[in-house]
Assembly symmetry: C2
Homo-oligomer: 266 residues x 2
């Protein structure tokens, strides 16, 4: 399972302020520390205000790429910002985060993704909003698959986000995500998946415990990537345990060396 | 997911010694504390020596049932001992732990299970030993299903143990168990499953972390029961998180009250 580092996001106060004063030292530090902790992609989100977002995103791309060599996840809902990010991305294959099946959202972006040989996160929702059942979300996945193929994208470059909702408002929120992941694995074995975790625990105590427990469950159901904070040592401990248990860490070598380095916490 | 408390087992030194001096206080304490910690079945194993096992098991059944009202898991490979345990069990529906598809093992036991309206754990192995692939283990499960049905048992009373092996000797040991659980869920949705956890981490550091991570993954794949030590607070924390995430804990009430009682550790 692949880690997308989530920390460089303008919705975080420290990042918003760093954007305001163009504090490259802070941004580069966030980039470096996430990569050292195991991030394989770095999400960049410059969405302070709609008018500033494009310039913010371009500056973030440049700062991050001057510091580390992992590819970027261009985090925006705006096709123009996504296009600017893709044009600027220069390490590996960028990931567009995200499109959905809402009309007008994916039609502009998928051709760009294909043109730049990039990858894309696709949310399992459409004009009808977020479907309430796993079966209905899988019907949206079917449309994602069709749209990706029409744009010439390989399914292995498409990361479906099943959309994690709060367990506190719907007791089947966890089971539903697992069912969507199961359905993806059965129906489109090449298709990838990703999700954010923290919604699951909204309104409940012990959120970190629930989030990392859910990550392990989603990994068992085939999750290919997760957007998370790689500086959360307990969460990364769960990632390492999960990878070992799934045979994704040959001879458990990363797990054992993380243990020796005192990095396993939990 | 159902918890089978594993502590009253003659392979543990304290239990072996308690059996030697017929220390009912110790056994009853072990019974009480496991039930208070959440055990819904109590495993009883009297296997010190073959000649003593039957009398040990009968004594354990009596002591445990004098103290608590949960049903027993009669843990023996001997049909005679199993018969004695079933004859003595008086709370709820006893669980026979275990049979396998080895010749001569299940033929004697399954009719007893049916006669006592009991339940049974069936190991996914046969005369050829433990199959190396998930597909081959599922072929054994097919035979378990046929044998259970022939004896008049409902599939909901049969708990298949996919057999957890050491990750340190086979990197796919974890994935294989998850694949067997997936296969059970798809092919025989009424059939139950159970497993022990600790083999998975044999030979690796941080065994508790790996065991409880694996439990969450197995729960996601549909595990119906686990035989474990309910006094392990971190493991029970994982159980509670997993149940909440799967919608098995309505409104997360048990999770929230365990949090308030300071029982969540992890």
């Amino acid at each position: 399972m692949m880690i997308i580092g989530e920390r460089i996001n303008a919705t975080r106060k420290a990042i918003k302020e760093a954007l305001g004063r163009r504090d490259g030292v802070l941004i580069r530090g966030e980039a470096r520390s996430q990569v050292e902790a195991g991030a394989e992609y770095l999400d960049v989100n410059g969405g302070t205000t709609p008018t500033e977002e494009l310039a913010n995103l371009e500056w973030l791309c440049d700062e991050v790429q001057a510091e580390v060599e992992v590819p970027l996840a261009i985090d925006s809902a705006s096709p123009a910002v996504i296009a600017a990010g893709l044009a600027r991305a220069r390490h590996g294959r960028a990931l567009v985060n995200s499109i959905s099946m809402e009309s007008g959202k994916h039609e502009a972006v998928l051709p760009l993704v294909a043109e730049h040989r990039a990858r894309v996160v696709a949310l399992a929702m459409d004009d009808g909003g977020i479907p309430r059942t796993a079966a209905d979300r899988l019907r949206v996945v079917e449309r994602i698959v069709a749209a990706a193929q029409k744009s010439g994208l390989a399914l292995a470059d498409v990361y479906v986000d099943p959309l994690v909702m709060a367990l506190s408002s719907s007791g089947d929120a966890g089971r539903m995500v697992l069912d969507v992941l199961d359905g993806i694995r059965r129906n489109w074995p090449e298709l990838r998946s990703t999700c954010g975790l923290s919604n699951i625990s909204f309104g409940l105590p012990q959120r970190g415990l629930l989030n990392r427990s859910f990550l392990l469950m989603a990994m068992a159901a085939g999750l290919s990537a997760a957007i998370l904070d790689p500086l959360d040592a307990k969460l990364m401990t769960a990632v390492r345990a999960g990878r070992s248990l799934l045979g994704q860490d040959e001879y458990c070598m990363d797990f054992i060396s993380a243990h020796r380095a005192g990095k396993l916490v939990g």
